[in-house]
């Protein structure tokens, strides 16, 4: 198992101790509260992923070949899920993000939250994170060729 997937499995295991949904949500709320707010300069419409029912902001940089994510949401449970995504994908190489399937969301029973009908911005955010990875990878490849 790749290190990336070990991290995903860890998250799944962490959640498996909660039998009750409300306990899972309590944990997400904690994670959401612990995730630092996004830099004010990125809490703007430019970085906004409008989910109709809740908002998500996302910014990404590439530093030393690794993606640096900065993300936030106005809804705390959504922010908890954002925190998990950041925990998993932050400081990874584009290749890691692109080569591994995202399975932990399913594994902790939050797949609903990624459905296109939830309009919470999460699905768009996951897509955007991968897009960033693709864009930076393409850029790196270009640089190598050049």
């Amino acid at each position: 198992m790749t290190e990336y997937n070990v991290t995903q499995q860890d998250i799944v295991d962490e959640f498996s101790v909660f039998e009750d949904w409300l306990d899972r949500y309590n944990y997400l709320i904690e994670l959401g509260n612990d995730l630092p707010a996004i830099d004010p300069e990125f809490r703007t419409s430019e970085y906004l992923i409008n989910g109709c029912q809740s908002k998500v902001w996302l910014h990404a940089d590439l530093v030393d070949g690794r993606l640096q994510f900065n993300a936030d949401s106005d809804a705390i449970i959504v922010k908890g899920i954002v925190a998990l995504l950041v925990k998993l994908m932050h400081d990874r190489t584009p290749a890691e993000i692109l080569e591994n399937e995202l399975f932990f969301i399913d594994g902790i029973g939050l797949r609903q939250n990624l459905s296109p009908t939830r309009s919470n911005g999460l699905l768009a955010m996951v897509k955007k994170m991968r897009l960033y990875a693709m864009a930076y990878q393409a850029k790196e490849n270009q640089n190598k060729e050049a």
């Binding site: 409300l22 949500y25 309590n26 029912q53 809804a75 449970i77």
Partner: protein, 408 residues
């Protein structure tokens, strides 16, 4: 206890209410979005498809004859329900939205010109805003708006200055789906009619809560959706005064709404068929009639009394929750409650309530201008009908308290 109103019996008439979600009993408080169907409606639809299904009108064979009879009987049921003068005034549509679009187009084609005005209110559902906006854009007309005050009541004192020489029609919701307000529609109609301006009432949130008499109201058009009054989806009603409907051009073209067709000239069928283009949703219309008959069997009076008790109880309980603010405090109301919890995102609250089996709706409820009025993004809405109970209200209150606990 309301005489002759047995809530347990009533709940057992609705199969879906026996359901569990996440191993918790379903507490369905999203009736403003759509209502559940009693067994008699479900069975009627099944029976129509298993035994009677046939296209209506002009068929000479047995099945077609039978189905046509039932479809036209459904029209009579709706006529009696609204106390319309004649079945010619009852048009089956695809829903309240379809009905409003029909009027906006047909009335607009005939009577609205550049510089004219359409008067709506600040608390309209998007379905009673956008069709008029589209008409205004097409014709160069102007949309005017009756505002409401912070209690969610229409500012009637502004009505007379808003009704102008150029006002062609007033389109107003009978009851608001986000504020719960029942509007003083008789007063509005009286003042509009004093200036010969017709009035359309959007009854989408009213008919399931109380009796409506279009002749007593004297409205010119009345619309509602089947699926919000315990009937099937894809069906709705447009009532219009006969003299008015006679004058209007048809909306959609197609089968059944024509008399003679040649490529040069087409003449239209009589009312109500002129407005029913194509194969109508006869299953939907007959299912709606079954729902109305079911309501009649319980009695509108008993339903009304029960809902008022339920509504008063809910309001009292919600008001007692610290940090909960209700949007919409009109004196006359339906059992629809919009609220916010201090510093809590509606999405978070709805997610938690959902996992307790409580179905509420969040968002703008298709009334963005209402949200803009209060400077908010949306609300949490609990909307109740006669199959809901005081115990469910208690569960909602507990759910809200738990939500507050978790999120503060």
């Amino acid at each position: 206890m309301i005489m002759g109103f047995n809530i347990n019996q009533i709940r057992s008439d609705f199969p879906i209410l026996q359901q569990q979600v996440y191993n918790k009993p379903l507490i369905y408080l999203d009736n403003g979005a759509t209502t559940q169907k009693p067994r008699v409606v479900i069975d009627t639809i099944r029976e129509l498809q298993e035994v009677h299904n046939s296209s209506i009108h002009r068929g000479i064979h047995y099945l077609s004859e039978q189905m046509t009879g039932r479809y036209e009987a459904a029209r009579e049921t709706v006529r009696a329900f609204l106390n319309a003068a004649s079945t010619q005034e009852i048009i089956f549509t695809s829903g309240a939205t379809g009905s409003i679009n029909t009027v906006a187009f047909s009335f607009g084609e005939k009577y609205v010109n550049s510089g004219d005005e359409i008067l709506i209110s600040e608390m309209e559902h998007h379905s009673n805003i956008v069709p008029w906006q589209m008409l205004c854009r097409r014709k160069g007309a102007q949309l005017k708006v009756i505002p409401f005050n912070d209690k969610g009541e229409l500012e009637l004192e502004k009505l007379d200055e808003l009704l102008s020489e150029r006002t062609r029609i007033v389109a107003l919701t009978h009851a608001s789906n986000s504020l719960g307000t029942i509007n003083p529609v008789k007063e509005v109609i009286k003042r509009a009619h004093a200036r010969d301006i017709p009035v359309l009432l959007d009854g989408a949130q009213m008919v399931q809560h109380g009796e409506v008499d279009v002749r007593e109201l004297d409205c010119d058009f009345y619309v509602f959706s089947s699926h919000k009054i315990f009937g099937p989806t894809g069906s709705g009603v447009l009532y219009g005064k006969e003299a008015m409907l006679e004058e209007l051009p048809p909306y959609q073209g197609g089968g059944d709404m024509v008399d003679q067709v040649t490529f040069d000239e087409t003449s239209y069928n009589t009312l109500p068929f002129k407005f029913e283009a194509g194969t109508s949703n006869y299953t939907g219309a007959i299912g709606l009639a079954a729902a109305l008959e079911y309501l009649q069997s319980i009695g509108f009076e008993a339903i009304g009394r029960y809902e008022r008790e339920l509504s008063d109880y809910t309001l009292e309980k919600l008001e007692r929750i610290g940090g909960l603010k209700i949007y919409g405090n009109a004196a006359e109301r339906i059992s629809v409650f919009s609220f916010l919890l201090d510093n809590i995102h509606t999405y978070d609250a709805a997610m938690i309530l959902d996992k307790m089996g409580i179905a509420v709706r969040t968002g703008t409820h298709c009334t963005q201008p209402v949200m803009d009025h209060f400077g908010i993004d949306g609300t949490i809405r609990a909307s109740l009908v006669f199959y809901n109970t005081m115990e469910e209200v208690d569960a909602l209150v507990q759910g809200i308290q738990k939500t507050i606990e978790m999120l503060s």
